[in-house]
Subunit: 559 residues, 2 copies
C-alpha cells in the first residue's frame, strides 16, 4: 500500500525524493520568468524531449533511468498481476487496458506496416504491464467518491512493469502516467525509460464545471471533455445542467420541464444520455455531480412547472414576469421533494450541487403574499432570511435521500444551517482567501473555484495565472487547511458551445489540473511550459483539439 | 448596369430607399443599447425571423414583399439567363451554381424523403434563378482584382428570379445573397419572399489576414476559411505566409528555405497547395495577396539561405545570432530578385505584400560592416535611412515584375520612396485616424487594420467594438477619403492554429465584413445582433464552426 497509507518512513523518503527531483528540475530549467518573448528557445517542439519532460500533471515523485526498453505493439500486454483483487471480471480495468493500448499504439505508423520483429535494436523488451489492485474492495463495480484512493506505485523494469494501487481509481491514474511515459521514436519504435513513480493527488476534489444551459452541449462534446479530464487526472465533472436560459434535463417525473424549458426538442438530455455520461465518467474514475441551482437561476423551470416561480408585482399588479422559486408555497416543496427524489436516484454520486447563488430579492420584495409571509415568520425585511428558509427546506429534502450537498458560497454567507459534511464552493474572486478562512473556520469543507473561471478569456498565456494560484494561501490552522479539499475550473457557457468548448478549456484547464494534483512546490513556470506544450501535443494526437500554448507546432497537428 | 455606373437619379433613389429601409429597421428594433444582459429577448433564436432579418452583410438596399414563393429542390434551377456574356463554358459560375444549390438544399430533410409534389401549399413556385453577366468581359477565366465590379441587382418574382451583374464577381455576391433569402420552414418546404435587392460594396478591399508562420495552418483550414469569407462577402485573403518562426512556403528556386526553415517536412505548402488555395479563392471571388515580410521578421529565412541575415556583433565579435536581412550585400539583392520573380509568377494577384514592419536596428548597429556602409552612404546614424534604402531596392525589384505592392505603415513613416499605387496598411492602434490622414494626405492608398486585430481576445461581445468602427472617421478631404479603399481583420497566429482558428475568427470577423460592405449608416447594434445570430447559425449549418454570439441555440448545432 502507498499514498495515504504510507508509513512515516515512506513519507520522509517521499519528501526527500520529491525535493531531489525538484532541485534537478530547477537546475535544468533555471528560475521561472515572466511572459516569454517570441524567442527560439521558447518555441514548442515536442521532439527530442526526455520521457520525464512529458508528464502532466507531474507525479509526486519520479525516478527515471537512461536505460530504455522497447515495446512491441503486437506482443505487449496490459494485464492483471498476481495477487490482484481485480481480474477479467473487472470491466472497468478491461476497458481501461483496451483504451490505453489504443492511446499508446493505436494511431501510429506501425499499424500501416506488416508486423515485424524489433528491427535489430539493442534495447531490451518490456513485455507486460501488470496491474495489481491491493485492496479487497477494488472498486471495479462501484462509483468513485470523495474518499476513493487514487494513489499508485509504478515500476518500469525489464521485462515487466508493475502498477500497484489500492483501488482501481489509482490504477486508472497510473495507466495514464504509464501511457505518458511511452513514446514513439523517429523510426516508429515504442520506447519507455526504466522508471519508478510514486504518486497520489494533493487534493481529493479536482473538478471541471460545464454549463449546458446557456448553450446546449451535445453529449459527444461532454464525452470528449471526459476523455481530456482523464488525460489530466481530473476526477469531478460538475454538471451545471440547467439554468435560467434552458432546461435540457429530461425529467422522468416532470417531463414538461424540458418539453417547455429546453431550447428545442433536440436540445435535451434523455435519461439514457445522462446514464451514458455517468458511466463514461465512471470508467475514467470521474464523479458526476449534477447542479440543480435554486431558488435563483430558475427562469427555465417556470415554463414547465406552474406556480413554481414567484410572480413579480408592480404596485399591487402582477407584471407577468417571474422571479426566483416561490419559497412560501407548500406546492413548491412538494415539487422539490419529488424532483430531488428523482435526481438522487438518477445520479449515483453522494453529492448533489444545490446552487444557491446570486438570488435577486427584487421580485420577492414586490410580491404582497411574500411580504405577508415574511411578517408571519418574523423575518422583518431581511430577505436573506427568506432565502435561508428556502434553502434549509431544500437541504432537508436532499438530506432525507442520504445525499450530501454542495452549495455556492452565498448559502454559507447567508448563514443557512448546513450539515457538517456540506461542501461550500467559493467562487467570488474578490477576497476569496478571506472567504476560505471563514468557511473552513466555521468547520465546513471548501472547494475553490474563484481564480479559475476559464470563461473569462484574455490575450496571451493566461494558464500561468491559473497555474500560479496556491489554494492553501489563506489564513487558517492546519485543520482549516485540511478542509480545503480541492478546486474546480469553471467554463460557464454564455459564450461557449460545441464550436469552441474544447480549445477554450484545454490546455488552460490543464494548469489547474497540475495545481490540484501535484506537490505544492511544483511551481516552475519554465518547466511547466515545456511539459505543457508536449502534453498539449499529446492531447491533439489523442483527438482533443486543445489550443496552442504559444508559437510552435506538433508532429501530429489537429485533423 | 448598376452600382458604380448608376446615374445620379439612381444614386438618389438608392439613398432614399436605404434610408427608408433603415428607418423601418430602427423602428422595429429600437435604439442601439449597451451590452445586453441575459434577458430572454436577447437570446439567439433563429426561428420565426423574417427573410430580411437574416441578411449579412446588409445589402445597400432591399425591398421585400410578404408574398412568398416556394422552391422545389428537384425542379429549381440556377442557370445562365438570356443575353448573359457567360454560359456553360464559364466554369466559375457553373461551380458556383452547384455550390449554392448544395448550400440551399443540400443538408435538408427533403433529401431523406422521396421526391414529392409541393405538398398542397398555396404559394406559387419559383422555378429558376437566371444569372445574367452584362459586361462583355465577364471575368469567368480571370482573377478578381482591386477594380473588379462586385455590384449586382437581384429581383425575385414569380416564376423566375433574375440576378444581373457586370462581372461574375458581382454574380457571386448576388448568389450568396439569394441563398441567404431562401429559408426552410418547419415542414421542410423552401420559401423565398418576393424581393428586389440592389447591392454593391462600400469598400473595394475587404480582407482577412491569416498567419501560417507562428503556427502552420493545414490547407483544409485555409479552404474552410475561404468558404466563410465568401459567406461574409470578403474578397482578399492576406496570406502572411512566412515570418521569424517558420517558413512553410516551398520555393521552387530555393527549396532549402522550407527544407530548413519550416517547422518540419510536413509543415509546408507545396506549389500545388498554393495553387489550390489560389484557385479555390478565385472561384469565390477572393484575391490571394501573399506577404513576404522583410527585412525584419525573417529569422526562418536565414536557416536555408546563407548570408541573407545580418550577423550580430558583441564588441567586435560575431555573437552567432542574426538580425534583419543584410541590406549591404549585393548577394541579398541577387537573392531577392530571383525570389520575387518566383513569387510574382506563382501568385497571380497584381499586389504583393512586402511587409516592412517592426524592424529592430540593434543588430545592424552592432555590425561593423553595416556601420561602415552607413558612413559611405552618408546615412549618419539614422538607421531608418538604411531600412528605406533596403526597402527601396526591394520595391524596385518587385516593380520590375509589374507588380504593385502593399506595405505596413512603417515603410511610409520612414519615408521610403513609394510608387503612387502603393497600398499602405495602417496597423498601429494608437492614433490610427491620424495615420490615415497622413497616408492619404500624401496621396497614397490606405487599408485599415488597426482596430481589427482579432487575435486580441477579451470576454464578451467584442464584435460590437469592431462593428462600431467608422473607417472614414479621420481628418481629410473627400479625395483623401476615397484613398481609403478598405480594411482587414487580422488573425495573427501566436495563439491560433487549426484547433481554434475558425471559432476565434467567426463570427467576430463578420462584424468587420458588414462594416466594409454595407452602407455607413448601417450601425444599429440591436438589428445587427439579431441578424448576426441568425447568420452565425447559417454558418454552422454550412460547416463553419463559428462560435456563439451570446446565449442561445441553433436549430442545427455544430456537428
Amino acid at each position: 500500500a502507498m499514498g495515504r497509507t504510507m508509513g512515516l518512513a515512506g513519507l520522509l523518503m517521499g519528501l526527500f525524493l520529491v525535493s531531489a527531483v525538484l532541485v534537478s528540475t530547477s537546475l535544468r530549467h533555471g528560475a521561472p520568468r515572466a511572459e516569454p518573448g517570441p524567442k527560439p528557445a521558447e518555441w514548442e517542439d515536442a521532439s527530442g524531449a526526455g520521457p520525464e519532460d512529458s508528464l502532466w500533471p507531474l507525479p509526486q515523485w519520479v525516478r527515471t533511468s537512461r536505460r530504455q526498453l522497447q515495446l512491441a505493439p503486437d506482443r505487449f500486454q496490459l494485464l492483471h498481476g498476481a495477487g490482484s483483487s481485480a481480474g477479467p471480471a473487472c470491466g472497468l480495468l478491461q476497458d481501461a487496458f483496451r483504451r490505453y493500448y489504443e492511446l499508446m499504439f493505436g494511431q501510429s505508423r506501425w499499424r500501416k506496416r506488416s508486423r515485424r520483429p524489433l528491427g535489430g535494436r539493442a534495447e531490451p523488451e518490456l513485455l507486460q504491464l501488470q496491474v495489481v489492485i491491493e485492496s479487497q474492495h477494488s472498486g471495479c463495480h462501484s462509483y468513485p467518491h470523495l474518499g476513493s484512493s487514487e494513489a499508485y506505485h509504478l515500476t518500469v523494469t525489464e521485462p515487466v512493469a508493475i502498477l500497484k494501487a489500492d483501488e482501481v481509481w489509482g490504477a486508472l491514474r497510473g495507466l495514464e502516467t504509464f501511457s505518458q511515459l511511452v513514446h514513439e521514436d523517429d523510426y516508429g519504435s515504442f520506447l519507455v525509460n526504466e522508471s519508478e513513480i510514486d504518486d497520489f493527488p494533493r487534493f481529493a476534489h479536482r473538478g471541471i464545471l460545464l454549463d449546458s444551459s446557456r448553450h446546449y452541449l451535445p453529449v459527444k462534446s461532454i464525452l470528449t471533455n471526459l476523455d481530456a479530464m482523464a488525460f489530466n487526472k481530473f476526477n469531478v465533472l460538475h454538471w451545471h445542467i440547467v439554468d435560467d436560459q434552458s432546461f435540457p434535463y429530461q425529467s422522468i417525473y416532470f417531463p414538461e420541464l424540458s418539453d417547455k424549458g429546453a431550447y428545442s426538442y433536440n436540445h435535451v438530455y434523455t435519461p439514457s444520455d445522462v446514464h451514458l455520461v455517468i458511466e463514461y465518467a465512471r470508467l475514467r474514475g470521474i464523479r458526476v455531480i449534477p447542479e440543480f441551482d435554486t431558488p435563483g437561476h430558475t427562469q427555465s423551470w417556470g415554463k414547465g412547472q406552474k406556480d413554481l416561480l414567484t410572480p413579480c408585482y408592480n404596485e399591487e399588479q402582477p407584471t407577468g414576469s417571474f422571479g426566483p422559486v416561490n419559497p412560501i408555497l407548500n406546492t413548491t416543496y412538494d415539487f422539490m421533494t419529488k424532483f430531488f427524489k428523482e435526481i438522487s436516484s438518477v445520479f449515483p454520486d453522494a453529492y448533489i450541487h444545490l446552487g444557491g447563488d446570486e438570488v435577486n430579492f427584487d421580485c420577492w420584495k414586490s410580491n404582497p403574499n411574500v411580504k405577508e409571509f415574511m411578517k408571519k415568520q418574523g423575518f422583518g425585511i431581511d430577505y436573506a432570511k427568506l432565502e435561508s428558509y428556502y434553502i434549509q427546506n431544500i437541504l432537508d429534502i436532499v438530506s432525507s435521500y442520504n445525499k450530501g450537498y454542495m452549495v455556492w458560497q452565498e448559502v454559507f454567507d447567508n448563514k443557512a444551517q448546513l450539515k457538517p459534511d456540506t461542501v461550500v464552493q467559493v467562487w467570488i474572486e474578490n477576497n476569496y482567501a478571506h472567504e476560505l478562512s471563514s468557511v473552513t473556520g466555521a468547520g465546513f469543507t471548501a472547494i475553490l473555484a474563484a481564480p479559475w473561471y476559464l470563461d473569462y478569456i484574455s490575450y496571451g498565456q493566461d494558464w500561468k495565472k491559473y497555474y500560479s494560484v496556491e489554494p492553501l494561501n489563506f489564513l487558517g490552522s492546519e485543520k482549516q487547511k485540511k478542509l480545503l479539499i480541492g478546486g474546480e475550473a469553471c467554463l460557464w457557457g454564455e459564450f461557449v458551445d460545441a464550436t469552441n468548448l474544447t480549445p477554450r478549456l484545454w490546455p488552460r484547464a490543464s494548469a489547474v489540473g497540475e495545481r490540484l494534483w501535484s506537490s505544492s512546490n511544483v511551481t516552475d513556470l519554465e518547466d511547466a511550459y515545456k511539459r505543457l506544450t508536449i502534453h498539449r501535443c499529446r492531447m491533439l494526437r489523442r483527438g482533443i483539439s486543445a489550443e496552442p500554448v504559444f508559437v510552435g507546432y506538433c508532429a501530429h497537428e489537429a485533423r
